[in-house]
Symmetry: C5
Subunit: 317 residues, 5 copies
């Protein structure tokens, strides 16, 4: 079991002394006292517009944004990541959820062929700090960088400043880093994914969300072996993999297990795979995922949780 | 009748505690105590220059901008939306109107073929807050985002910051969101309109103004059924439809009724359909619209109001 | 005679209470107590470089910039409009002139074929306020917007902010609005000029300087009739016409008379027509212009002033 | 002899009252009590990289940047103009020199065919004021504008703000204005040079450095006659000419004499012609130049100074 | 032995009096009391992504970022240069290392053919000062300028401001200056390298890192002779050469010796040559390098250190 104590939290030196306790508190909350991150990604209403929430193969429950918060409340998650405004509209009714405010977002309307991607910071950190001050349970920030985009510079600078300020104020930061743009031929090239992980470390992120690497051609490594190099490159920044589009639960959980135990990943970041299901099924999946991420269950054991044969609660970590 | 009480107002958590009462007050004013929005759009003097105010089929009264304020005073509206300067020049003589300051605007001279649309924020929020401080009855802000424009990022960021600051200061925010730009092939595609609604929620808007969706091809839904999905996607952000160019009153009111009662819309946003008429007719139309939006009249009943057979006043809500 | 009293000045609500007296004072100064504006445009040394000041048909006196200030001193003008630096270098010797600080300017070197026009704000308002604080007789600001330029957004935003801040500090604002850019086929199209006037109102300007509209094709209106629609569109923003290149005095004065009495203009904005003449002739022309603008003289009467047969002084308003 | 007294210094009204004495002091220092400017230009290490300092025809002494400061110390100059950092590294050892901090600079690597020139402001004024506060003998600022560049707007705005702030703080400003860019066919066209001079005045500069005009075709004027019109256009802004590449001393001094006595120039701005010589020769040339600029020597007399037959010191002004 | 005392440190005049002691302290630390700089470059995880840290010919130890800090701790280095975030994550465990915070960085994904290089400032200086205030041993800043890039202006301005602020606060600044971009045909042209050195001086840097010049064609000078001119052009800014890709130790040390003793270099800046080796070998190489840079060892003597036949410690300087 990956349990840690408060004094095992490795606090970066840019966390100002007066915010040290708050950082540790947030770290313990976000990782549910394990050092591992179970991130429930709820930022796709901007990123993918309504296509991730309504349509064939998606439970109708997902059409109402409140679905996300019900999952966050009834399921077992480390943090629920969403845009500031989304959180602002629901958090009063869901005060127990650990929120990670996604600081930037873009739609998918302009594609890379038309223009390299840039995802703008949508609000100042001050606005987020004010919400925290007013009692909202915000434990950290998220920010996406499209590495290799012609706008890489702007995103790197926004992220670099945000991390400095977030740490100074005791908040965690998770970077989403995706190589993308005219210059990027293979977005999942293992060297590139490892490079992205290293960039996150250099910017000082606490966690980095990357796509799983995809070895090709001469590269005989499994994806999980390749992931291990990226995890090493991330150093003290915990690496988690994006969940991608919805697959069956066993496949999903098996991948996650290998990402952690072979690839050195430090958790998961999952969105569609969870919220496109009915509330009940989605809740059970968060529990199965958390059983692997936060309590080192094996896949079969986690499947029992998913199938509702066993429950998994925070108290069991 | 869609009446609400002050404690039924759902206050977002980014409204700072000291501004909570002001937000509720503004929400009750803007919705005339109903939770529904009757928005009188008076921002076209920039958006469409003088073509909406003078020419064939437009009452000559509309050539003088004071016409807008007379309608706002004599009619029944929730908020009059206009640029800061326009309001500044007339509000002293029309202190009773609820003003919504439109924070950005662009002309229609440069079309999308030449350059993707960008509508710049025209003044700092501080200037608007100072006017409110000086006694002007400002209840909220408006901002337009052209989703899918190459300048989407700038508008998303301006809107994102404005909403945070507006809420912190107790003001409402209405977003106008129109998908437009090289990347947007069908501006009224139902999925896209629903996406726009979700973006408004993620940014934390109180209301979003969209164009009515237009199902095409295989999509057998009525526009109002399609609108319902968008209303769901908007979650706690109230959705209202743009009124578009002038049509006959019955058609207009019938559409509005269906938008609300089938499409789940939370009111209306109407400009040209109102102000291009003579003062008397325009005033009667605001009353007929409000009868539907704010008092759940049916269309025949509202037509009686439009035809002057019955009056409709705020006292009747 | 268009005389007004201090309490007839319509003060916009964005003039902060503590600046109300100053605004009224500046309005009375700039309009010489009439509500009409006689603006002496001296900003062409940037806009047109030295071609307006030296060469064939231009009196040699105009080669020395002090000429402008001598005209301002000896003639009858409402405000002398020039860049901040120009005013800073001469105002100590010409303290009685009412100055309008032109906040932006560009040269004519890069033409519209090469790039759409952008005229940048050249200094912060703080610098202008400091000069006023130090005793310089500054009554207002000027700013040029090229409507329809690809840089329209930047100029609209700079103007929008300047007006808010200027009013808050008791200063008047005159906008110069010229439709220009790749998207603008007919810069003097009457609808477009009326649109420009409406934009000035929406931004909250006190006066707007436009080119006289030029009806073409099917449009059988005189320029002055067309101007009347623009004046209406401007609402409470006073409209004045640019003077254009130098013509004979009678033609000039006749046009001005019709602009005011048929077209609803609220004064004049004249540069080259004045300063390209010898000091004596230029002084007499300012008096003839002011006789029409500020004292409702007819053209023949004003010509007597221009010809030196009669004097016209401020005391005669 | 062009001597002036402190109360003959014409102080612009944007010099704040509390900085008036400092401005006068700086003006007297920079002009050595004459109202004329002898500017030693030492900013080419960025503008021309090392080609102006090392190579054929250049004394090896010039390879070491300290050479510039030795000339400044041993010679007779009004101000030594260089970038902030250059001054910061040497001023402790050369405290007696009057420094003019060049606020912007660019290299010559990207030529106009590739991109129109933009020379960025390299540091905030605050940094310069702090150095002055710490005791460095800074009397003014310099800034280069490429008029007609597509980046003209940015440079105009940076210069406009700098002048306002510099004057407010008692510093002089010298503008370098060079018409350059795709739109500029003849950089030394007399009308254009005169236009540049007028722009400097409108921005409020104390001095402007331009290239000597070059009349062509039908224009039968001598360069110095053409320069006279530019000097007039500059009004109360003193005009000085750039020295250009190295020529023999007599030619150089003869040109300077005519620039002042025919062309109305108010001094000189000389770089390469001075520092590419050995220390001894460079020192003598500064003295010969100053003899003309600051003491109205004729050319023959100045040549005696250059040849070492006579000395010229500040005490002789 | 190049030892200096505290009062031999030449403090630039932009170091504010209250920061003078701190600057001297930092200068003595960074140069280990010698005036020479041994810089261990650890910023490549962004610049070169993971390719410099994992792959053929690279010791596997280099895959874990902690390797860099172990070398910094066990070896002999002047400063360890890395991004703010990297330092923030490890400095608590490596408090004795002198840190130089690299303020900007870019990846190598977008190449110069696609777009001229721009490396953005990734965080405000305030964040770095706060870390120092909290006890992190930060002695200076680094910043990269791509001279000749179309983005040269932005980098020059960021660097110019950083140096002013860093000095004011007692920090050293090292500039990395690489001519690169469409306009640059030969990145290692001796004149260009000398020009780069001069630019660093004009911006006020304490040290400049350049690539070694490469004389070609008619230029019969050795690289070290050519370097001498660059060192002269740098004036009081100390020049160090980039180490480049990994070569055998003798070659490397021989080059370094000549850079210092023939080329006038003021130290070294070495990254890959050090960290791509095993910890033990890397540590020995830092000692051999430092023996040359900080203690004027000859190459044979330094090779003994590299080979482990002799130790070299700070105490031996």
């Amino acid at each position: 079991m990956p349990k840690i104590t408060r004094d095992q939290v490795r606090v970066p030196v840019d966390v100002m002394p007066e915010s040290r306790d708050e950082y540790i508190e947030n770290y313990m909350k976000a990782t549910q006292g394990t050092g591992r991150l179970m991130l429930f990604a709820c930022d796709q209403k901007v990123e993918h517009l309504n296509k991730d929430f309504y349509g064939k193969g998606i439970d109708i429950a997902d059409a109402d944004p409140q679905h996300l918060f019900e999952i966050g409340k009834q399921g077992v998650v480390g943090v629920l990541a969403g845009q500031r405004g989304l959180i602002a509209q629901y958090a009063a009714d869901y005060p127990e959820i650990n929120y990670l405010v996604k600081m930037n977002s873009k739609t998918n309307l302009v594609d890379t062929d038309q223009e390299d991607p840039y995802s703008p910071q949508l609000y100042d950190l001050e606005a987020v700090l004010a919400m925290r001050e007013a009692g909202v349970n915000i434990v950290g920030l998220g920010y996406t960088i499209y590495l290799g985009s012609e706008y890489e510079a702007t995103m790197m600078a926004e992220a670099g400043n945000l991390i400095a300020q977030a740490h100074a104020n005791g908040l965690l930061v998770v970077l989403w880093i995706y190589p993308r743009g005219t210059a990027v031929k293979k977005e999942k090239d293992p060297d590139l994914i490892a490079g992205a992980a290293g960039v996150a470390l250099c910017l000082g992120a606490d966690f980095v969300k990357v796509n799983p690497p995809k070895p090709e051609g001469d590269d005989a490594r499994t994806p999980f072996e390749a992931l291990k190099i990226a995890s090493m490159a991330a150093g003290r920044t915990g690496l988690v993999c994006a969940g991608g589009s919805t697959v069956d639960a066993h496949t999903f959980l098996d991948q996650l297990y290998n990402q952690i135990h072979v690839g050195g990943a430090c958790g998961n970041a999952t969105g569609r795979n969870i919220h496109q299901r009915s509330l009940d099924e989605a809740v059970r999946l968060t529990k199965a995922i958390s059983a692997i991420t936060l309590a080192d269950y094996d896949v079969d054991h986690a499947m029992k949780v998913f199938n509702g044969e066993e429950d998994f609660t925070l108290a069991m970590i």
